[in-house]
């Protein structure tokens, strides 16, 4: 059985300039096996559930086809982790306002939060959404343009579906708004 000390020399990392540290760091000793031992100890202490996050980016490792690597983005666990840094930014216009605004749909958990934000942004009141009456008689109605190019009333579909299909928002006001979703 090879003694555990041998492989340090045999790897001869200096000569082949293999580095398993993070780019930019300088390792003066072969770190491969010591690092793994250290990691294992770390995992044991933490209950073995976390993979060490400071992985060096080794070219071509893990051996996954680049096509696959580029296609599968890690899906964040829904239960309580932060929303992805890349947001879903959509334009918000309001009839009569001098300029448009942009909001990140990912920064809201649902319609309530979205509407609170919009109401505050444009200093308006929208009221509550109801299936039957839309925004029932309010001066303003939030609408959005969906993937098919149709203008829809905000609030009818599940939130996830909304964030996926919403291309832009428009706050309608005046008589146009009152005409929407009033019972019929």
């Amino acid at each position: 059985m090879e003694s555990t000390g041998c492989y340090d020399k045999d790897l001869n990392l200096e000569a082949t300039e293999l580095r398993l540290g993070l780019p930019g760091t300088d390792q003066t000793e072969p770190t491969t096996n010591k690092r793994s031992i250290h990691q294992t100890k770390e995992e044991d202490q933490e209950g073995g559930s976390k993979v060490a996050s400071s992985k060096a980016q080794i070219v071509g490792w893990p051996p996954v086809r680049s096509f696959r690597k580029n296609s599968v983005q890690p899906k964040k666990n829904k239960a309580g982790t932060e929303a992805e840094a890349s947001g879903i930014y959509v334009k918000v216009s309001m009839d009569g306002a001098p300029y448009l605004r942009k909001i990140n749909l990912n920064s809201y958990n649902g319609y309530d939060q979205l509407l609170v934000a919009v109401q505050s942004m444009f200093r308006i009141t929208i009221g509550r959404h109801s299936e039957r009456e839309g925004y029932g008689g309010s001066e303003h109605a939030p609408t959005y343009e969906d993937k098919d190019g149709d203008w829809m009333l905000v609030g009818d579909v599940p939130w996830e579906m909304f964030t996926r299909t919403c291309k832009r928002l428009r706050i309608m006001k005046g008589s146009e708004a009152r005409g929407l979703g009033c019972g019929v």
Partner: protein, 573 residues
Amino acid sequence: MNYFPDEVIEHVFHFVNSNKDRNSISLVCKLWYRIERFSRSRVLVGNCYAITPERVIARFPCLKSLFLKGKPHFADFNLVPQDWGGYVYPWIKCLEKNRTNLEELRLKRMIVTDDSLELVAKSFSNFKSLVLVSCEGFTTDGLAAIAANCRFLRELDLQENEIEDHRGQWLNCFSESCTSLVALNFACLKGDINLAALERLVARSPNLKSLRLNRSVPVETLHRILVQAPQLVDIGVGSFVCDPESETFLKLTALLQKRHSIRSLSGFFEMTLYCAPAIYPLFSNLISLNLSYAPAFPGKELIKILQLCGKLQKLWVLDCIGDKGLEIVAYSCKELQELRVFPSDPDGDGNATFVTEEGLVAISSGCPKLNSLLYFCAQMTNAALITVARNCPNFIRFRLCILDPTKPDAATLQPLDEGFGAIVQACKGLRRLSISGHLTDQVFQYIGMHAKNLEMLSVAFAGGSDKGMLHVLNGCEKLNKLEIRDCPYGDGALLNNVRKYETMRSLWMSSCNISMGGCRMLAKSMPRLNVEVINENGDLNRDGDDDQLVDKLFVYRTLAGPRTDAPDFVWTL
């Protein structure tokens, strides 16, 4: 046999289909060689640079089906520079010039251009099947040429290719009289397609058995397609995003309850989890399931689904299934033969779940028919591998990738030599092996001693000395492909058994301890090998010292001599 007329011998040969067997037949005597070569219609050229197209066509004039492989396997992982080679155009030009009646073309890891596709489309009037795996260099315009000109096209299968999508109307290009499609797979295309054209194509293809859609095809179209094509057996769903209260969803749910003929399912690039129950009725009939491109299925959902898969033989899944999920698979999928578990977080950026040795042990004890494995895991132990070897002696393919490539046995901190040793000892039929983790010369001693049927070995970040590589070269009689990266093997290992390389298709060594001198020596002593030094970074001096270290080396046997299309950073010594 020599007393039979040639026609009888030829008729007997007709029943022999495997390339290996046909190669053996052709070595028996001149007569058999002659008869065999005129009757071979399916030709496999495992390395497109091992022989010239002219020689292939000269030897097999009745060739109808050609399978060509180009770049070395490690090209899949970005270890081979972009312009290394593997161009298919010269082959197609040659086939066209000789008026070969080409019906099928299958390419793997090759550079395919639109011109090549156009040439295929216009030169072979009986062309029936195009399968491209892990290729690049073409656009949807090339596909349009195939669609427009191949009137009897049966199969267009695009697997994991990098295709420049011009979002054109390539699907429209199938002529109205083209009704022969049996299999269509464009799952790897990134752009939008003309949905109406797709529906019309499906409607006029009564023999369509396999259809794999890309991300851009919405569930409404899927529903209409399923209505049009009740004969479909293999479906790749594009996007499964829908409103659970919509009419489409309700109709789809009702339809899927009655589709008992669907045997293979894949895709789900996007998914509304809420709508998953619609597909539940499909699972009890499935033989093959590929959810490795479906990150929207969390572990819990996968578990629910897999419990239903009593007939499943092939499963490709992401590691978010977890060990628990694999236990469920072990319990529910007794017919499982092939399992691939891919990392859902390959770059290790987040807190992804992963699988460990526990999941693998569970699978091995629950699924006795398992013979093919690709397993990306966070850790492994010798004890687990020994158990797996005992439970599943039928492995043909065993590829284990520990995400931290030099990690030792997670329990004992020992090298994983004993574990892999147990695998090669128990699995006498093992043909393909990939090993990882902390390894020493010992594992290679085991491999050399026991892996007598091994054809392909992939090694990364192993420790030890030159002895390790020699154990393999000297012991593995059937070794065909050896690929090594980041191991401490030097010229001693490379030059010890040079004759071996003529019995193999190829050898790849990168980031090892090989020098220019060693490579020059190899090239000098073995003229029928192409010894390619790949000077990707421009560090090497071609006429420089022998002791320069060679970072990437690719050696392969060839009858074609040094290739003429090598880029200037690839030197054939």
